[in-house]
Amino acid sequence: MPLLELDSVVVAYGKVEALRGLTLQVEEGEIIALLGSNGAGKSTTLRSISGLVEPRSGTLRFADRALARLGPESIVRLGIAHVPEGRRVFPGLTVRENIVLGASNRRRAPKAEVAADLERMFATFPELRPFADALGWTLSGGQQQMVAIARGLMSRPRLLMLDEPSLGLAPLIVQQVFRVIADIRANGTTVLLVEQNAHMALSIADRGYVLETGRLVVQGKPAELWNNEDVRAAYLGGRVTSAA
């Protein structure tokens, strides 16, 4: 029984179909990478799972429950956290408040537990600690990205969906973020990862799905995707270390 199951999901914005019958499964405890070019429907997939867009047809099931018409708030309570691209940090709240807000789906969580989780976030992203009381808008783009990831982790999700977590982060921090993602999975959380940095994504993923214009074109284990000529050419590229 997969943890998350999408069956022939169609999502359209007006007359433009962003997803044209997408079917995929995520097993408990996996890291799944969702690859594809811009406009392929990767972000739309995440948005349909978290209830931000209503699919036109098809079914979505999470832990054996249908997600249709549940709405984003109820879906978060089922244990799905979505870290959207473009950061979306609350500008008028402090970093600490932004992160703690991520725990608002956990009803009656003891204060000490939330405080301990917050402390874990600062340990994960030590760069944020000096800014704990700074307002969201004063952070740089990369720091906001870290806050957004930390906020998603605070909900202690069963399924964590990350939309381009490495966007705008320094190489050092990117390595750190991917280490964190691997740690999260080691603690039992399932991860659905949309990422342009296919090398990094496949280096930690168990399986990958490649989308093109709203359809699934290839899926498989990282090694299989590595060896697929088309996928290599489009998303991975040769090793360009000394060339050019």
Binding site: N38, S140, M146, P171, V174, Q175, A234, R239, A244
Partner: protein, 600 residues
Amino acid sequence: MSGAPAPATVVATLAARRERRGWILFAIAAIATLALPLAVPLQAYHLNILMQASTYAIAVFGLTIVLGYAGQINLAQAAFFGIGAYSVALGTATYAMSFWVALAIGTAVAAVAGAALGLTSLRLGGHYLAMVTISFQTILSLVLANWVSFTRGPDGVTGIQRPSILGHPIADSSHYLVLCIVALYIVGYLVWRLGHSRLGRSMQAVRDNELAAGVVGVNAYATKVIAFTLSAVLGGFGGGLFAGGFAYVSPDQFSFNESVVFLTMALLGGVRSPFGAALGTALLILLPESLRFLKAVYLAVYGCAVILIMVFMPEGIWGWFSALKRRLRPVQPVVNDAAPPLPLTSRTAQAGDAVLLEVKTLSKHFGGLKAVDQVSFTVRANTVHALIGPNGSGKTTLLNVLSGIYVPTGGEMIFEHRPITRLKPHERAANGIGRTFQNIRLFTAMSVIDNVIVGAQRHGNEVEGGDAGRRDLALAALGFVGLASRALDSVQGLSYGHQRLVEIARALAGNPRMLLLDEPGAGLNHHEKQELVGLLKRLRGHGLTIFIIDHDMNLVEQLADHITVLNFGRRIADGAPAEVLRHPEVIKAYLGEEAHRAVA
């Protein structure tokens, strides 16, 4: 590629077709409304309602410009309307002027008042502008009611004269109505044209994103003042016609309540289009009259109707219909990607690598935080200069100082031997400095191509062929980034990565000498990044100097001729890529040990 029309022609044809359709609709409506008062003998009551509707609509067109196009609130339109009305009233009744002279004076006084109000308050905008306009409205109402010796006070002014044309007095009300309707159509047409003109596009750019508008060369403040002044002019003009229609004016006709009515008319009909303004005005004047049979409850029904329309059609009636039309007939992709070549690419690189930009001990402090601290470097012409550093090290702040969004705390910048430290963003754009933003800043309510046209129309970017030439240039820029086929789409429908490319196209359309790019590779996959690398390499070959921030070391290594590294606002390294990327401090602070293996 054979036979299919080039996108330039497709876009031009579509624009021409839209224009032709507009004209036909316009002509039918004009003939119908003009024929009515002449053919059918109307009662005085109906004449009055139509005169009120047509003169009000002219004032509401003003709100289309200031609020719909430029996004600035004006809660004093009744005051400008009153200025026009009282000028005609006092001019013809007290000073025995000709109607036309009085109307011209009224419009001019409204213009001066509008410009003065705009110049003093538009730097603030938002709530402050609302407060200032309300205050102005209140002051004018007090003056009209209390300066009895001049305005005749609360009793109002009677004996207002109507005009004559070529010696024929227009005394008859139905003839005067025809005059008002002709004026309505002419003004409506001009306002509609304005929306599709260079100035109108600048206004919409300021409305959608003032910061980005400045950076692509729009003088946001001047544009807002012009919009506000034009709005006041139309208020005054409509008011003058109104006074001639009713032969009597009094202060209570131009109170704050009426300003709210004008605003409601604009919002109800659809604030982004003059058609909406006319529709809203007609509805708000005709609806209460047609509900009078409900007697005691008619105002309640009227209020409910207005609320319901606003709830279910937040964009106004016209906006709702436009959205419906877009849904039913989605934009066709522009077939054929064979866009004309970008003129920039025919520019030949000037030989040599002279210093293009010199940054000397530049600092930007926010309170105690030294975001940029005494940074110096030089950027040479025809090179790609990369700026890297940890998150929060001050890279974007530095870029904001370079493009004029922030005023530096200290230091100076010299671009092509001219100091630019004190120049505003739009002045730097005029000097040939273009940029893109890390958090995409597009003009969200405009189409892809209109976004890029705003970039093409900056000062100092002379384009042959006026608007058509700028459209071609914009299309060329879109073709250059591979998005010509999406030219007519709304920018909101594009994916994150494509929106970044539109930003680059918008900057390129301005023919910059130097392009500042803030993380252009973010959100692109490997394949798209390689295309970006190719695109930027081609640009460098044509005399464009590129200053780039990015975290993708593969991209930076492929492109950069020179790298500057920041950490905690200070420069920690500066030089050729090979040495900078091996600098121990850079590796420790930024790259990490596994950098070269991990980042692809």
